[in-house]
Amino acid sequence: MKHPSIDKLAWYSGGELPWWPRWTIRRHVAACAQCQEEAALFRDTAAAVRLETGEMPAGVQWDRLAAEMRANVRLGIEASDAISAYGKKYEIRPVQGMSWRMAALTTGFVFLLSIGYWLNAAKKSEQIVAMRGPDPIVVEASERGVGMSDGTKGMELQGPKTNHRAAVVTVSTIGSAGARYVDEETGQVTVNHVYVE
């Protein structure tokens, strides 16, 4: 007589086998004292595990532990409720079930707002042009002298008229212009500088 493997007996005792192997093993076990004993041992073991796992681990003060866990669970739930309530307060809800009238009204309102914004923007750009004022002030330096003008009026600081030539003419981006003149006979240097503020 061929005995079933110990794995199969373990599954048989726990009811995990499909019906056909279960039926064949049941037939064998019914006729085999050794396998009956094996199967009974597995059942006893399972019963012992079930019984003993119901016991609280030795040394655990269950009442106190349970009270502590209950309090922590309540605290956790309340914290979770508070967080979800805070989330709901600031959530943007999607528009649902909007009627066609509401949709038409909203579209018209958005259209009016767009027109108003466009007209206002055009007016503002005209105002900016009007506020821009006269042409900017120009400073310039040449052999003749250093001057500035705003398009309508101007002034010039003229350099020496005789025996002079401009040695260096400078223009800076911060709004200044300068010219340095050297007298060919005396070696005298004249520096003119104009700043615009």
């Binding site: 794995d7 106190r64 349970a66 669970v73």
Partner: protein, 188 residues
Amino acid sequence: MLTVHMSDPARQTTGNPGQEAADLQNRFIQEHMRRVFLIIYRIVGNVADAQDLTQEAFIKVLQRSEQLKDPDKAAHWLSRIASNTAIDFLRRHGRVNFTEIDSLADPLVTEHERNPEQTLLRRERAERLDEGLRHLTVKERTALILRDVEDVPAEEVARQMNCSMATVRSHIANARIKFRRYLERRKA
């Protein structure tokens, strides 16, 4: 004909929906906490982790309080959450750290444990179980607890443990064989 309606005082409604929900939650915690703690403890093997994970499992379940309307389904769901929480914990930490019984401070002496003989017997049984479980791998222990203690069908155990049915059957068989041999050795 006179009809008398009897009502369960524990289930009487207060008329305040918030209070009723809180009462329902408290009853649910009261009824299942011990069972859930023990499932998790037997899987992770130590009291401190089991305490944290039990709390975590209850918070997960009670955040969806609409699930409590059907007590049987809720209990089943809670067991599943509890074992999954414990399995996830072991996956994350990859360890089992059995609490040394002597290291637990201030052991409880409850009313029914005042009898020293009974206390000793209980302690011996708990020690025997802890030691037996220590001979199993994490997967074998988890499969054994879910199948033989929680009576979860093998297919469901496979789903929870995220492995095939054949693997779970192998874990279950190995666990039973090892535990049986352990008990036989102890008897001998």
